[in-house]
Each structure stands twice: as structure tokens, then as C-alpha cells.
């Protein structure tokens, strides 16, 4: 049973446009969310995170939005660059509970930014 779902296996956008990657979760206990980026043959790299007490967090070209009532989060990349082409994983954690170290990942979305 997938607790973190990324329903789009792939996304293709033009350079300079906005990329929107979506993530849904089913476990209402999740209170901390992260996005990781992964290039081929490398490990995932932390990108940005958001706590459930916020609905938006921004870092340069990357913004994460959280809609708790819908159990949905999204990552916006503006403007998209060819170097952003990678697999993006959404992950969630339960900070309040004792297992706050454990991340539950989605299956990932392959983003391709075309020049």
C-alpha cells in the first residue's frame, strides 16, 4: 500500500517554463515532507522540505506547496533549466512520533527539460 504517491511517471517541459511535480499522501500522520532529486548512477540529493505547519516554502527557483486538507503537495520549478532534468522523489516523515528519522518515498517522476 503506497502511502506516498507520485502518479505521473514522467513530465516534459520547455526550458524557461514552469515545471510542476505532484505528490499525494494517504497517511495523515505525516507532518514533514521533502523533495529529493536524483541523477542517473547517483544517490538522491535533498532539494527542499516543508513542515505541516506551513503551506509554502521557497528556495530560489524551487517552491513547495502543501495542501493538508487534500493531502497533496507540489514542487514548482521556475524557470526550468536543462540541468533540472532528473528523477524527483517526494518523501514524507512523522516528526512528532519516535520514528522521525524514517522517510517514506514515492516512486518518483522523471522530469525532462528540453532546450
Amino acid at each position: 500500500d503506497q502511502q506516498v504517491k507520485q502518479n505521473s511517471p514522467s513530465l516534459s517541459v520547455q526550458e524557461g517554463r514552469i515545471s510542476i511535480l505532484n505528490c499525494d499522501y494517504t497517511n495523515s500522520m505525516f507532518d514533514y515532507f521533502l523533495w529529493y532529486k536524483k541523477y542517473p548512477a547517483e544517490g538522491p540529493t535533498f532539494l527542499i522540505s516543508i513542515s505541516s505547519i506551513k503551506d509554502k516554502n521557497e528556495d530560489g527557483r524551487f517552491t513547495v506547496f502543501l495542501n493538508k486538507s487534500a493531502k497533496h503537495l507540489s514542487l514548482h520549478i521556475v524557470p526550468s533549466q536543462p540541468g533540472d532534468s532528473a528523477v524527483y522523489f517526494c518523501a514524507a516523515s512523522v516528526i512528532k512520533a519516535g520514528s522521525n528519522y524514517k522517510l517514506t518515498f514515492g516512486k518518483g517522476t522523471l522530469l525532462t527539460v528540453n532546450p
Binding site: G43, I95, Y101, F105
Partner: protein, 114 residues
């Protein structure tokens, strides 16, 4: 070192063979994690160490999987009597603290069981 180092990068094992995967975390990092990533899936939690103590091994798929971190730095994930379903990328990660705030992953070991 500058990052989390894992070795070997690739391992091919015959079914039934034992394998050992090594992880060198970032120096001084207290927490160490192992994740398993099957083809087309996201990483799945296997086990967690805080220094030398294995605090959570709930994600280990079977008693054929064993992990250790005897001196609180280098860790080894051992898989006994490998089976085809063990084929995956095994990722190690470390962090300075204990919470899941963006820990640093290694490049992984790709295990193929034939």
C-alpha cells in the same frame, strides 16, 4: 571524506551466495541509514543506526539481512543466501542529527542476483 561513500558500486552474485556491502558515512555523522531501491520504485527504509546502536531494523525484509556499525562509523549490510528478489540498489545515507531532515545519500551499490 566529502560525501557518503559506498562500495562496491556494482555487485553480481549467484543465487545463494553471501554478499557484504560497505558504507563510509560523512565523518562525524551520528545517524546512518540503509535503504533499498528496487527498479522503478522509490527507496524503502531498511534500518537505522545512531552511532553504533541499531535503533530500528524494522525494514529488513528477512533474517537473511543483517547490518552492523560496530565503531559508530563504517557500516556493513550483509545479505546471506541471496535470492533474485534481492536485486536492487542499496543506498546508504548519513546525517549529523537524528531527524529526517534531508540526509546525504551515497551513490548506492547495485546488486544483481543471477
Amino acid at each position: 571524506g566529502a560525501g557518503v561513500s559506498q562500495s562496491p558500486r556494482y555487485k553480481v552474485a549467484k543465487r545463494g551466495q553471501d554478499v557484504a556491502l560497505r558504507c563510509d558515512p560523512i565523518s562525524g555523522h551520528v545517524s546512518l541509514f540503509w535503504y533499498q531501491q528496487a527498479l522503478g520504485q522509490g527507496p524503502e527504509f531498511l534500518t537505522y543506526f545512531q552511532n553504533e546502536a541499531q535503533l530500528d531494523k524494522s525494514g529488513l525484509p528477512s533474517d537473511r539481512f543483517f547490518a552492523e556499525r560496530p565503531e559508530g562509523s563504517v557500516s556493513t549490510l550483509k545479505i546471506q543466501r541471496t535470492q533474485q528478489e534481492d536485486s536492487a540498489v542499496y543506498l546508504c545515507a548519513s546525517s549529523l542529527g537524528v531527524v529526517g531532515y534531508g540526509y546525504t545519500f551515497g551513490s548506492g551499490t547495485r546488486l544483481t542476483v543471477v
